[in-house]
């Protein structure tokens, strides 16, 4: 069925957007709206599912089908929806609290099952909606209302978690880099399987500047490493620095002084085993530039399509006499009394 070309504005619902002025969520919303038309999927076949949190308000602002569920359970709701209706395009929007604190287990299991949907985890390293408690991605020592002496929980790294859970697609992008986000979103949407996308998102009210090192014009070339499949890992304003492998440890080297591009680590999204992607996920600011882009994109069967193969059947006719019911009820040992 041909779909008329849509514009970003067609994806805006009639609900007033209610994030704090200056919140990074606005940029993400804008970019998602910009990306969707290119996918050529009719609005009615798209569903946004979320949990609870500032980020999870997202579905209300999209003129598609949407489900703002309960805290931490978006992945489970979305999984069920996708199993029942494999033909839909399903997006999950979640936060670092929603997706990794209360919802960590559902994330883990949806990812391993490789249910075909795109997961956007808005990581602002804080609980926004409940007004500023630390989150599982908050750094050690962070002082918040619930950690007045500084947080003592060692943070999770969302991408490491996803890779530990057998993710087939993992990527990272950033709220303010719309172009990069657009690329990543397109790739994620195109991937068959659970596409896990971490989006660094600024909460200007409770954790302002958490990612300033990666957004600041002066530092971003040195703090970000843009991943490109099949290319060596090069970064820096002058693109003169690279990442080399020392056994399983990455190290930063200066290009040119006896080190050529060929000595560098080459990115391979499609590596059969995720060890390279995992290793990349360990590169953290300030020791390393942080990798952005697609860490891993491999093919693996999707749960709901295999399930659908087993059960292939359209909605049954609602007929008064139903041979399949009769067959079911009469299966097994029966006897006749007359």
């Amino acid at each position: 069925m041909p779909v008329e070309p849509l514009k970003p504005a067609d994806f805006a619902s009639d609900q007033e957007v209610r994030w704090c002025p200056g919140c990074g969520d606005y940029a993400i919303l804008a970019q998602v709206k910009k990306t969707l038309p290119a996918l050529g999927i009719a609005r009615e076949n798209i569903v946004f599912v979320s949990g609870i949190g500032c980020s999870s308000r997202f579905p209300y602002y999209m003129n598609t089908y949407g489900f703002h569920s309960i805290h931490g359970r978006a992945m489970a709701v979305a999984s069920g929806l996708k199993m029942a209706r494999p033909e839909l395009q399903v997006w999950v929007v979640t936060g670092d609290g929603d997706g990794l604190s209360i919802g960590g287990n559902h994330l883990l299991h949806a990812i391993r099952r490789n249910v075909d949907m795109t997961v956007l985890l808005f990581n602002n390293r804080i609980y926004g909606l409940t007004k500023g408690q630390y989150s599982p991605t908050s750094e050690v020592g962070k002082r918040t209302k619930t950690s007045p002496k500084g947080a003592i929980d060692f943070p999770l790294h969302p991408i490491s978690v996803a890779i530990g859970a057998e993710a087939s697609f993992v990527a990272r992008t950033l709220d303010i880099d719309l172009k990069h986000m657009g690329y990543v979103l397109e790739r994620a949407a195109a991937h068959k399987g659970t596409s896990f996308v971490e989006i660094y998102q600024n909460c200007n009210i409770f954790n302002d500047g958490a990612f300033s090192y990666a957004t600041d014009k002066n530092t971003k070339e040195d703090t970000r490493l843009i991943l490109e499949h099949g290319k060596p890992l090069i970064f820096g304003k002058d693109r003169n620095k690279g990442i080399r492998l020392n056994c399983t440890d990455p190290e930063i080297v200066d290009l040119g002084e006896g080190v050529s591009e060929d000595d560098l680590l080459f990115h391979d999204e499609k590596a059969a085993e995720p060890s390279l992607a995992y290793l990349l996920s360990r590169m953290h600011h300030p020791e390393f530039p942080e990798p952005f882009g697609v860490y891993r994109a491999v093919e693996r069967p999707c749960y709901e399509y295999v399930l659908d193969e087993f059960c292939k059947s359209s909605d049954p006719p609602a007929s008064a006499e139903d041979a399949e019911i009769d067959a079911l009820l009469n299966s097994g040992d029966t006897w006749v009394v007359d």
Partner: protein
């Protein structure tokens, strides 16, 4: 008490005493195959033409140490020439395969009842494992019973060792030897059992032949050595003609759900997580992909219900099944289903609580949780099945209510129904209710109002894929009609009222509460759920014994049938038997201000008929 001659299987004529009703219990070690022996005895009895009711009793451990008390497994069958409703209070014939089984079970045998023991198992070691110093076969413990000691091990070995099995394999046939003996005793036909062996074990002929040989050896042994001075017969029951099968409660629930979805014209989606005694619903539905049934074993109970809610949003007939502890976990998500007004069936196969409690035992102690185990004003229809076969009808009903009223519905069954079985006259699809779903469709670009209600109070079920009906739902309070998020005080009150009214409206679509027994009585017994059999039998007996008692059994617990108050207020005395400490009675007393009295039992076991008879007696004193 007439006598008659033997069946064609028998070598010589046997005198058989006619009985109306008999209860047999097989018990032994978990590894002794007692569930199998019991099931086959049941099948044979059903096919013979008796009415039957069964009660398996599993140990909580998977395989407790062989010969130990916690390892004892039992299976009880009541078969009768009349309609029966319970697996029987007390046992007429007990088969005990080892000392532990004997110890745990002999007290349930009627005075003068028959006890068949596998003598070979009464070794010193086995006695010790059962914590017995002296052999109860010798010390007079069993003096009130007719005890028959059979060397079942030895006899089985003799009969079954010619087919190439090793010793262990041969020894495993002794449940069929025991079965053969009891079949002889009660004149059960061997043919259905032999057919079953052929079907199930046919692939390994050695096994099939050895078991058949053991079965026949048991029968022939009785025939030959005249083991029993007296044999029995239970005449065929007057059973409505039709095609029958034996069905457990969980099978019936699973089939009812699958059927219900088709009667709605939809596919079934089950999101579930294994838990005793509900797992077999998931297992049974997992084997029905040909019906378009999709099952999903989720990572936990919360994911299970949430996946079902997602599937319901997508347009599936969605179900989640579990037992009490699982319901406790699902509470928050049940609230989401109430708020989003999506159809969903939630099955609770109740078990002994609180907490992990007694996982393999039965109880009715989750009624209050079903009513009120959620935050906020969060009403849901609740219905309960009364017999194993009734689980089928109530599962279909649950689905009907869910889709017609756009609401989650709780279906309560329990461990006793789940595992218990009865013969079921198989209904024909054309006689089953139909309630095809009509999804909302786009109306010329008219703005879609997802919370605009119809005459039932239901909102439209619009599903992704329908162009023009794009909308958003969620757990925040919504504005009436538009469904937008809304925090207005009056709107909240209005929506709370609308949700309550919708659930109350279900009463318009359910049958009146029937009064069974003697409607002119002063005493009414009000029951719900699996106590149906025991109450019915007790009330029948009381009435035929000249007393006057009425019985009303609630299958719809929320809302209750419209005439419930009128029925209950009509009687001078009201007794409410429950396998809990008094739960439904709280609602009855509060709603109707009637001084109903509870009859309560929390022992992991169903009521005995006699317990209810006693309560009737003392109430009428």
């Amino acid at each position: 008490m007439a006598t008659s001659t033997a069946t064609k299987n028998s070598a010589k004529p046997v005198k058989r005493q006619e009985n109306d009703t008999v209860t047999v219990r097989f018990c032994g070690d978990s590894g002794d195959g007692m569930q199998l022996a019991g099931t086959q005895f049941t099948n044979s009895s059903s096919i013979f033409g008796n009415d039957v009711a069964t009660l398996p009793d599993f140990p909580a451990e998977i395989r407790a140490p062989a010969g130990s008390l916690p390892g004892v497994s039992g299976f009880q069958i009541n078969f009768s020439k009349f309609d029966i409703h319970t697996p029987g209070d007390r046992v007429d014939t007990l088969v005990a395969m080892n000392p532990a089984a004997l110890k745990m079970n002999y007290k349930d045998v009627v005075d003068g009842g028959i006890i068949l023991v596998n003598e070979d198992a009464f070794t010193k070691t086995n006695l010790q494992k059962a914590g017995m110093d002296v052999n109860p076969l010798d010390d007079g413990t069993l003096r009130d019973y007719r005890v028959h000691k059979l060397p079942m091990g030895k006899l089985t070995t003799e009969a079954a060792s010619d087919f190439g099995l090793n010793t262990k394999g041969v020894n495993r046939c002794k449940n069929f030897f025991a079965l053969g003996v009891v079949c002889w005793l009660y004149e059960r036909p061997l043919k259905p059992i032999e057919e079953w062996i052929g079907k199930k074990m046919g692939k390994t002929p050695a096994v099939a032949d050895a078991n058949t040989a053991a079965l026949r050896a048991g029968w022939n042994y009785c025939d030959t050595i005249e083991l029993f001075p007296q044999a029995y017969r239970v005449a065929k029951a007057k059973i409505a003609p039709g095609k029958y099968r034996k069905i457990t409660g969980n099978e019936a629930t699973a089939m009812g759900l699958a059927t219900g979805a088709r009667r709605a014209g939809k596919k079934l989606f089950l999101g579930s997580y294994p838990i005793t005694p509900a797992s077999t619903i998931l297992e049974t539905l997992a084997s029905m992909p040909q019906m378009g049934v999709k099952t999903f074993q989720a990572e936990d109970e919360i994911a299970a219900i949430c996946s079902a809610i997602g599937a319901a949003f997508g347009g599936a007939c969605a179900v989640t099944s579990t037992s009490g502890p699982g319901i406790a976990l699902k509470g928050e998500a049940m609230g989401l289903a109430v708020m989003t007004e999506l159809p969903l069936v939630i099955v609770n196969v109740q078990r002994g609580g609180p907490s992990t409690g007694l996982p393999t035992k039965t109880e009715q102690s989750d009624y209050l949780q079903a009513m009120w185990g959620r935050n906020g004003e969060c009403p849901m229809p609740i219905i309960a099945a009364s017999t194993p076969a009734n689980c089928f009808d109530m599962a279909v009903e649950a689905m009907r209510i869910a889709v017609q009223y756009m609401t989650p519905v709780i279906l309560l069954t329990d461990g006793y129904l789940a595992n218990g079985s009865e013969p079921w006259r198989i209904p024909q699809s054309k006689d089953l209710p139909q309630f095809p779903v009509k999804h909302a469709v786009s109306n010329n670009g008219e703005a879609f109002m997802p919370y605009k209600r119809d005459e039932r109070g239901s909102r439209p079920w619009a599903i992704p894929g329908e162009k023009g009906l794009e909308h958003r739902i969620g757990g925040l309070e919504k504005q009436s009609v538009t469904g937008n998020v809304n925090y207005d005080p009056d709107n909240h009150q209005a929506m709370v009222n609308e949700r309550a009214a919708k659930v109350a409206n279900v009463a318009e679509s359910i049958p009146d509460l029937k009064v069974e027994g003697n409607p002119e009585a002063d005493l009414l017994i009000v029951g719900w759920g699996s106590t149906y059999g025991a109450i019915t039998t007790a009330v029948e007996r009381a009435n035929s014994g000249g007393k006057k008692v009425a019985h009303a059994h609630l299958r719809y617990l929320n809302p209750m049938p419209k005439n419930t108050g009128e029925v209950i207020k009509r009687f001078k005395k009201v007794i409410v038997p429950e396998m809990n400490m008094g739960q439904l009675i709280i609602k009855l007393r509060s709603d109707f201000l009637v001084d109903a009295k509870g009859l309560n039992k929390v022992q992991g076991k169903p009521f005995l008929v006699s317990e209810i008879e006693e309560a009737i007696e003392s109430a009428l004193k």
